[in-house]
Symmetry: C2
């Protein structure tokens, strides 16, 4: 299994990426292709005592910045570390690709270099988020602000296959993010998507309200990008707000400080549970090869986890299953010839 890694993506690159890649080689026995400035990679590895065993380097010129226009990855930045990695992936020089770089660029770049799966309307980043009792996959999380019903249907199907194959969730419960449970709720797009999902080969549990999602009512939350982005970021914001309030409770006085000492190890468990980097990155669903977008602020551990996730994504043949499901669904909805 060979994973292509963008060595210059993310706030803590290249150091955290190189450390995470080296840890992944050791723990998961993968081979790595590092994309980026060869000289710089070798220099940082030497300075930080990072082994390059089972890693090769694909030289690239610079990297695409988060503030750049994502489409630049196809124009002036077509030799940056992310573009080089995506091209290697498209050419079959590796089994999966991991980057912590620009979200916009990886969505645009993967759609153009790696191409979408035949029949898939839109690719979308689908982060796996913590909720009561486990995790759920959120698809879409922001790339496709407004969607057509068929796009939402495909999101549900693709995410369901990922959760079953990679996250080992049996018959994942697929919910449609909406303002109420009844099938008459929401915009016409959501009403139509509801009826499409009802007939789809997924375990569709109907509409889910914003409150149900963190409470663990579904394993897959299908959402238009605008709504999904709010679910993702409000969750992040509320968790941060809560943690800061908790911190001020703990630091109130000597008594609360003492109680924090008693709780410390347990609180770490809670923090870990709330920490999406534990799960790995966000798969980019809908393209022909496995692509994982790690969080921009990823540390070495987060990169390592994203590489593990990319490995599972590739070895469980998720994309082949999606292709098969799409073609079966197409056959069923097409009129039969006598």
């Amino acid at each position: 299994m060979k994973i292509i890694v963008d060595a210059f993506g993310g706030d803590n690159s290249p150091l955290a990426v190189l450390q995470g890649a080296a840890q992944a080689v050791e723990e998961y026995g993968v081979e790595i292709v590092l994309c980026g400035d060869e000289e710089k990679i070798k220099q940082v590895c030497a300075q930080n005592n990072i082994s390059l065993q089972n890693m090769e380097i694909a030289n690239a010129n610079g990297f695409i910045d988060v503030h750049e226009e994502p489409t630049e990855i196809l124009k002036s930045r077509s030799d940056c570390s992310m573009a080089v990695g995506l091209k290697l992936l498209a050419e079959g020089k590796g089994d999966a690709f991991v980057t912590a770089g620009s979200t916009g660029a990886v969505v645009v770049g993967a759609s153009m270099y790696v191409k979408r799966i035949k029949g898939v309307k839109r690719a979308a980043l689908a982060p796996i988020m913590p909720c009561k009792g486990g995790n759920f996959m959120l698809m879409d999380s922001g790339a496709n602000l407004e969607c057509r019903p068929e796009m939402l249907l495909q999101f549900g199907l693709m995410a369901s296959i990922f959760m079953e194959k990679v996250m080992n969730v049996k018959s994942p419960r697929v919910g449609l993010a909406n303002v109420g449970a009844e099938d008459t709720k929401g915009t016409q797009t959501l009403i139509d998507a509801y009826h499409l999902l009802q007939k789809a080969p997924v375990n569709f549990i109907g509409n889910v309200e914003g409150r149900d999602v963190p409470l663990g009512m579904c394993d897959v939350c299908v959402a238009e990008g605008m709504v999904g982005n709010m679910i993702l970021k409000v969750t992040e914001g509320v968790a941060m707000f809560f943690m800061s309030e908790l911190k001020s409770v703990f630091t109130t006085n000597a008594k609360t400080k003492l109680s924090y000492l008693l709780l410390k190890s347990n609180m770490k468990g809670l923090k870990k549970k709330m920490d999406y980097t534990e799960v790995g990155g966000a798969p980019l669903m809908g393209v022909q090869k496995p692509v994982i977008k790690a969080h921009g602020s990823s540390d070495a551990k987060a990169i390592k986890n994203a590489i593990r996730q990319a490995k599972t994504f590739a070895e469980r043949h998720v994309i082949a299953s999606i292709e098969q499901a799409l073609s079966e669904m197409k056959e069923q909805t097409q009129p039969q010839n006598a």
Copy 2:
């Protein structure tokens, strides 16, 4: 000051409503008009030792259930407790109206019985929610799923006036809920709304992302109903998820249980901060008289707080200020005659 109260709205009505109303009479010196089955009200008050001093009763037949179609309040249910209350308000028989009943029915009923302010495109429920460092008003929270830019402009203006006049926030920071900070982000509706808000007589701070809102970046969060509903309910869900995780941390073992005992009073403060019922209910903005929708699960304290909020809403002349601001804005945007 006379507040009209729907005695049969909410999960805990009529008892909690009657208790809350009696407390409000005592604490805030208001007069109350209770709407609902007169016999039943007298009976519950007698059984529970609730004084009816400074309270009168407007008899009504039954109440509108949360599961009923909201428009029924105008048809078969036009003599229910909520409809009677709204009609009394429209007739000037009281200064403000409070209900913990059906959200849909109060939006429909108030728009039809009390009528919208002249020039206001849509009425919307605007809950006041906790965030880091204080509270913010969310408008819209779900009534108007898809909005036109002018509607979002009016939401920002109305909510800003409420926050300034009732919540004593000086020059409230108005943010537009969107997927990114730049003025090019989001749908065309949001881009157009951005430019309208920029020119409006409010302290517009630009787009706010989902993460910024709980972290207290704005005092008014302007949102289309679909997005606002997600902000409201995801916040609620994440807070519940977090509280349940925290509870399991505290109950892990003897050491964590001891630490909870040390923290108990401080944790209560945190819980109180997260509790929207402390602030009161959600004002219905855009209609000609003050209407407050208390949460369906309101207890006596929440009803009392909603009545206090309704009193301030009425006595600070919020609606007159909105009317004035709207007419000034209209004058400025209309071409001048030579």
